[in-house]
Amino acid sequence: MTRNRILFGIGVLAFISVIVTVRLGGFLVDNEYRQPDRQVAAQEEQGEAELTPRQQGIVDEQAADEAEARARPYEEAEYRAVPFVGSRVTVWVLAQLHLLFAAFVLAVPLFAFIIEFVGYVKKEERYNKLAYEFTKLLSVSFSMTATFGAFLTFGLIILYPKFTNYLMHIFSPTFLPYVLLFFLEALFLYSYYYGWGKFGPKMHLFLGFMLNIVGTAIMFIANAWLTFMMSPGRRDDVDGDGVPDFVSAVSESGALLSLRDAFFNFTWMPINIHRIIANVAFGGSIAAAYAAFRYLQAKTDEEKAHFDWMGYVGNFVAIIAFLPLPFAGYYLAAEIYAFSQTLGIQMMGGTFSWLFVIQAALIGNLFLGANYYLWLGMGRMEGGVHFQKFIKWLLIAIALCFAVWATPRYAISSVSEIAAMGGSSHPQLSYLGQMSAKNTAVNILILSTYMSFLLYRRTGRQSVHPHRQLLTRAQAIVFSSAAALVIFYGVYGYYVDAAIRIRFAIPQVYSVLAALVVITVIDLPLYRNAAQSGETKWGRMPAVSQYALIFIALSFTWLMGLMGYVRSGLRQEWHVYGVILDTSPDAYTPTLGFATQVVSVTVLIFFGLLGVVFWLSSLGGKKDWEPKPVADGRDQLEGGQAT
């Protein structure tokens, strides 16, 4: 059947190609220059005619062009253009696609290794199988990463030759280690993948460990290049006055002063931390989307159960990594602000601030999607009805926090709305647009999501711990105290100066993190060997739950594209902030609408390519092709050719 479809497709393509070729040929013939004078044309055919004025003109033009080309001195191009889309959009899309695949390739080994390690410690084969299932996605994705990496490199060399040359001037000592590490990554990746079951468990885990070390080192090097463009120097208290100073890695003309300062620059470590966490969240969500894709295709209960579990684990990884991500993002943003007031204000109060409202909407969607998936997951267990009554309250908390987080400080308004409000901000709602409200909302969102997870974990289970009532109450007190503390600081923040208010974020974050740790520490013994009221039925999930997983992956990808643009676009007209100006025609900052369109198209291209990755990865599980048996006992090829 598939073969017939492919043949049909090839036939249609061939037909279209013939039509296009004939039409193109016809067009060229129709537009060929012909001598209007029959006699001249005949003489020309016989080689007797003198050149007509037009022909003479063409010959002269060719000679002049050649002479000009010979006389022209060699000049290095600063920029080259790409028709229609422009150089910036070309490099932007290529860089984004490279980064998305690279993030996936770095993240999957991280949690595949952890899952394999868990399987090794618990002596459970199913973890090993799951880790292998995740690793299957790596091979094709690695090729995609390398392909887009090459595209990006050539794109930069061709379109931004002078600037690329400058970056080479600064970072040339890092390129060879990078290539070497890349080679090692290929070695470890393929030996990890193809060596599954061929090596002993310890050796195989070692390969996985090394794969992660090398992959992370590669990312750290590449991060130095891109963060240098934003903050070309390090922070240090040079004059000993207790206030950090900026130590530039390059001179005013751009000459390198210190490779160390260029590499370990101001925003390098914040980006490293942010990217590691974000990669794991993103990788988990993409792996969960793959599981959802396979779940929706699954024919048997066994397949459904397997991919349901895989989706659950992928999503679990994504959400666990996602919970600390806002804090890492906050750290990065704070460091950008501390590096440059201009960049900080540009990011959070200026042109780019509206993208943070979109970011809030996407993150709210992520939280909602993650909780929704957990609630649906309660249906896997017998006796899940007990906790259903809490969903309403969790949903109210999540929707409220989502709304607070998505409230803009200054709303898009019509003239009459501005007149009614007495300004761009609403007298009541503008309070929700401030950091006090936002920090409170995100912390409550995290607590609510964790509560959903706890309820999911307890569904269909009954603790047999002798102090279960006491421990459960202790958990409730810790949870309520953390929530109360977060809300208290959120409200109190409105009564103090910005200098003090901004510090309230720290106790808010610590109280939430402490609550998560304490509740988990209590929960582990509380539900160890718990009595099960029923069996967990993997594969008993409605289709909508799988679309929720795909939705989460899509939101993550969109978010990465959007925030990546904010970080990169902040530099505005600078290639290297404050040092090398962008003098190309694309130096202007595009409108927010255009930027979001480019990000959206990139995400669509990525998901299209991801579909190919999923398809190729799923081929491994399909049966080998076999000739169709025929009635008379002879085998016959599907195309009808007898063997």
């Binding site: 206030v243 007031q341 200026g350 309660m378 249906g379 989502f402 998505a406 308004s413 609403h426 200098a499």
Partner: protein, 272 residues
């Protein structure tokens, strides 16, 4: 109270109370919640909230309601059961026919309302924090925007009397030049404010002055609308470039005064 339109809020709460007392069906609760929140966002505030924000809120509400209705097989079955009965049972045919007429009519009415809405120029929200330059030159004196502070701020602790004199001078400058737009109480509501779009900055706002370094405020005073950065053009600010009318000392003094008047401190260097 709290800027709410109390009759509307109380009416919505009363309907909710009746539904709770009558133990209303899940579908009724969902319809009520969606409708009540729409009415609350539309009419529940004394100062109406902008359409753009209401749209965000209603989007979140809709998503949350769909999530709730479908969060378990049982709840989904319970929610859609009345709809199934309405469609399948013969005794509800009249109600179904009514619904089939009412829904398109509602959509048509909505389209009509959208089309007959008076055309209005979009409002330009004043961007409160345009990104400052890295250096600022005023009256031939160049300062580093990242490190510069108000040169008279330290008198607050070192020499309160001298500090008071600078504040007094700033008060004079403010009420001679600034209050026309920024207002007597610095609420951005001076006598000329109604003629300006975007409206002048409100210095009482806790999110404005305390979030800015005094060098930033000095830049805005000295360069005004004409000195807005190129990055976020087109700017639309009526603020004059006061460096053409005031001395550097007068500008720092008025800078000191607006912070002192509102009881705020400028954001310190290196503070996030």
């Amino acid at each position: 109270m709290w800027g709410l339109n109390l009759p509307i809020v109380l009416a919505l709460a009363a309907i909710g109370g009746v539904l709770a007392w009558r133990r209303a069906h899940t579908l009724v609760w969902l319809l009520y919640t969606g409708g009540a929140l729409w009415a609350f966002f539309r009419f529940g505030f004394a100062v109406p909230i902008p359409q753009s924000v209401a749209t965000i809120y209603l989007g979140i509400t809709g998503l949350a309601l769909v999530c709730y209705a479908s969060s378990s097989r049982e709840r989904l079955a319970e929610t859609v059961q009345p709809i199934q009965r309405l469609i399948l049972e013969p005794r509800y045919r009249l109600a179904l026919a009514g619904l089939l007429v009412a829904l398109p009519a509602l959509a048509a009415y909505n389209a009509y309302v959208d089309l007959t809405m008076p055309l209005e120029a979009p409002g330009f929200g004043r961007e409160i924090h345009p990104p400052p330059p890295t250096e600022l030159t005023v009256h031939d004196e160049t300062i580093d925007m990242a490190t510069a502070e108000n040169p008279y701020l330290h008198y607050k602790h070192d020499d309160p009397e001298l500090y008071g004199k600078h504040v007094e001078n700033g008060r004079r400058v403010y009420y001679e030049n600034c209050f026309w737009c920024h207002g007597d109480g610095m609420g951005g509501d001076g006598m000329f404010a109604h003629g300006l779009n975007p409206v002048p900055s409100n210095f009482n706002d806790v999110g404005t002055l305390p979030a800015l370094q005094s060098s930033f405020v000095h830049w805005r005073i000295a360069k005004g609308g004409p000195g807005m950065p190129a990055g976020g053009t087109p700017w639309d600010s009526a603020m004059p470039a006061w460096e053409k009318f005031l001395t550097t000392e007068e500008m720092w003094d008025v800078n000191l005064f607006i912070y002192d008047f509102n009881g705020f401190e400028p954001r310190a260097l290196g503070q996030h």
